[in-house]
Symmetry: C2
Subunit: 323 residues, 2 copies
Amino acid sequence: MVPALDMWERPPFEPWIRDGWMYGRGAADMKAGLASNLFAIEALKHLGLRPAADAFFQSVVEEECAGNGALACLQRGYRADAALIPEPFGEKLVSSQVGVLWFQVRLKGLPTHVAYAGSGANAIEAAIPVFEALHKLEHRMNAPERRYHDHAGHNHALNLNIGKMKGGDWTSSVPAWCVFDVRMGLFPGQELGEMRRAIENAIHEAVRSQPFLAKNRPEIIYNGFAAEGYSLADDARPAAREARAALARAHTLVAGEPLRTEAITATTDDRFFGLYADTPALVYGPRAEAIHGLDERVYLDSVRHVTQSTALFIADWCGLEEA
Amino acid sequence: MVPALDMWERPPFEPWIRDGWMYGRGAADMKAGLASNLFAIEALKHLGLRPAADAFFQSVVEEECAGNGALACLQRGYRADAALIPEPFGEKLVSSQVGVLWFQVRLKGLPTHVAYAGSGANAIEAAIPVFEALHKLEHRMNAPERRYHDHAGHNHALNLNIGKMKGGDWTSSVPAWCVFDVRMGLFPGQELGEMRRAIENAIHEAVRSQPFLAKNRPEIIYNGFAAEGYSLADDARPAAREARAALARAHTLVAGEPLRTEAITATTDDRFFGLYADTPALVYGPRAEAIHGLDERVYLDSVRHVTQSTALFIADWCGLEEA
């Protein structure tokens, strides 16, 4: 889901190309990566070859809001020795990724005629100290001594985002309700339950001095993402090491330089494979800009590189046979 | 429009009576007053009498959000020597009322993937300094030296209310937009245009330090109320003086004590009659609590008093003849 489609330079669902970049809604995240997967299999076919082992192509839903699509694949019994997820991280291998928690906060207010606004409790404005408390928590969580070692170079790996808000029914009444939706990151190894408790404490602490809310406590609902962090780099299982090495060989052959790695500040579906299915998952895809934003774009040469690396990785990992 | 109907003690559209109070949505504002108008005419009829001059009963729409219903009556040519508006202000005559301005503020943000939240501009959180600036303006406008003399006893006659807010499309994107609706009061004699300029200056000043909003200026839309203040007490026309005196006589007879007056912090439709139609409008109605709020109620004995005063006022102002 990308907002503000009317703020694009050109209509977001009519792709266009400029200076080697393809623009369009979802062009980079993640049509380009999925296309490069398909192109790689197609390229082998054009050479009269096919993988000598099973290769599944799975294009899943919900990658952006829960990961339930990838989870459903695993739940249906699909298994592999390795997975490749072509998220657009600039031809780098994702070494570690953060976890993501979504939650909704519901605040009540005391509605009253605005002529006597002082006697009411404004549910919209009551959110302001809660935002502040959540950002303070975000700040604490990003402190150098709390960082996951692979994220040590990120000053602010864990982002807290107030993403949606709605409140009040009528301009001349003190609003009786307000709801807002928040996304918070967490490091690999950090427990979801621990983060939930920290969030709840911050929120309840923030409203303690508001007489109405102290009695009508905020409701906190966990919806969507409940994703733990994951580190492929720290996955010491042999399959993980072998998969990383195979992709590194393929990439080096195509790019003429070693495969670089990156600890990212978003989550991807690879946590399911790595944490719950004993399957190393390599996140490796093309170079993109402004994903989820205005004028999202992908660099087409990079899509070619990733296609080539992917074909070589399949050849290496599965072996090839005549089609 | 009253919000949060599920927060009432009992279902708001099933009226109930306790300790002489009738509870229900709109029971006080303003079904009770309108009922007392009808009861007064009915009471005269039961006595075999009727007003010796034309008496119009008009129940108008939009009283709470624009006043266009009353304005439409005048625009269609209805005229009177005096008007009586039974707003529930505790059997007191409204001596002066504030004006009300509604406006909507639209803020843009720079959407981006939350993994890079620092590079975006959160449209929801951008509202916080705007709220603050508006409340500072509210504070300045209520300063003792700015008060209308009839409102001098009110420490806070002009209320600014953030009544509604909405923003963002998706939890994991930095929100690209936010819209909120505001109600602001103004004193009799204060110009709407002057207040609009003060509001616009406050908003633009508040966002000047936000790089994205400084370039993408907030949009300010005036919708609904654009009501000037009005003072019946300072209306020196003879008809105004005579109407006040007639109501005072009627009330004193019923209540056994003089008619008290009140400068109110809300607006009513009487501004149209007083300012634009050369018609003194008396705002006088029953005793109420929690109008626009939870468990709105009207005191039934007070509805009886107002009915009696109204019948006597009609008798005095119009004279009576046999039906």
